[in-house]
């Protein structure tokens, strides 16, 4: 059993040192963690598999739901993804992180399913992020012309006591934010879930989604701005109601 583990470590660490010495970067640390998990997976450790599923399942479901028609199909897609992972991890060579590999499988499967299921509706939104123009913030909030052109006409009002903690304490605010995230088009939802919800570093997000850093920040900012708008409207509404 241990000889199996040694083989895995050797093959993976060999790949890491081919060419030049790997830099002690964050991705190397992540890969180290992957190696430990892979060793356990290849030993048939069920708890390692449970850990892997627990770590990524909810993000996978949420992302899949952006591509396919409903929850049930999203669950099927993710189920298929896990089956592919089970089939494939023996051959996984560590060219990317485990996470990048797993999310890549899911996106491929989800897009495939999405094309078949709702090609007549919003599929074009997958590839085009410019479907709503270049603007991130509602242009009507800025002066349109004159000396002040491009400067705030209706600047955001400070959310005085609102911190992440106070927002989270309000079930209504939580609901409003969850709905806003759910309503995002898949291209925006993907980056927000990976970067802000899952805390994946930006380089890896680009690898998973096969996009450039510039592209990532355009999408990420649009996603955050939409959530910000929702919170703004929620807070203003609450103010009026009091």
């Amino acid at each position: 059993m241990n000889s199996d583990a040694v083989t895995v470590t050797e093959s993976l660490s060999h790949r890491m040192v081919v060419g030049r010495k790997p830099e002690p970067s964050q991705s190397a640390a992540v890969l180290k963690e992957d190696v430990a998990l892979l060793i356990r997976l290849r030993q048939g450790d069920e708890r390692a598999f449970d850990e892997l599923v627990a770590r990524h399942h909810s993000a996978l479901i949420r992302m899949a739901m952006g591509y396919v028609a409903d929850r049930e199909v999203a669950e099927e897609v993710v189920q298929d993804t896990w089956m592919a992972v089970i089939e494939g991890f023996a051959r996984f060579e560590g060219r990317s992180s485990l996470r990048t590999w797993i999310f890549g499988i899911m996106i491929h499967k989800a897009k495939d399913r999405g094309v078949r299921e709702k090609r007549h509706t919003t599929f074009s939104a997958f590839e085009s992020i410019d479907d709503d123009g270049d603007e991130t913030v509602d242009p009507s909030r800025f002066h349109q012309s004159g000396e002040w052109a491009g400067h705030w006409a209706f600047p955001p009002q400070p959310w005085d006591e609102q911190t992440p903690e106070t927002l989270l304490a309000s079930q209504q605010a939580v609901n409003v934010m969850n709905l806003a995230i759910k309503a995002l088009p898949p291209t925006l939802q993907d980056v927000l879930i990976l970067r802000d919800v899952e805390g994946v570093d930006s380089k890896e997000v680009c690898e998973i989604l096969k996009i450039t850093g510039t592209n990532l920040y355009v999408r990420l900012h649009r996603a955050r701005e939409r959530v910000r708008q929702t919170v703004e409207i929620y807070l203003e509404g609450r103010q009026c109601a009091v």
Binding site: D4, L41, R42, Q43, G44, E46, F49, V53, H57, S58, I61, E75, V78, Q79, W82, M83, I86, E87, A90, T136, V137, P139, F142, E147, W148, A149, G150, H151, W152, A153, F154, P155, P156, Q157, P158, W159, Q162, T163, P164, L167, L168, V174, M177, N178, L192, D196, V197, G199, S202, G213, Y217, V218, L220, H221, R224, E225, V227, R228, V231, E232
Partner: protein, 93 residues
Amino acid sequence: MAQEEGQATLSEIPCQEIAQWVSAYLDEHVGDERKRQIAVHLAICVGCETYVKQIATVRDVVGLLPKTVEESPDSHRLRRAFVARARPSPSGG
């Protein structure tokens, strides 16, 4: 609602443009020159300063939202598949 006089004229870049870069700026994903321009702007523009704070709040709060437990209804099937696939077969030696 217009900003105080003098604020905007000091700035090299209009707020509308600053606003587009906020997420990249917060993640330190902008070049040195742009970073400087944005920092200068933020020092003199209350609207943009507030906007940056709000985007940072959103970024932080999104990561803290309670995660719905996504128990897979087929977790038993997955486990069986995993065990069948991954457990080294008791091959003779």
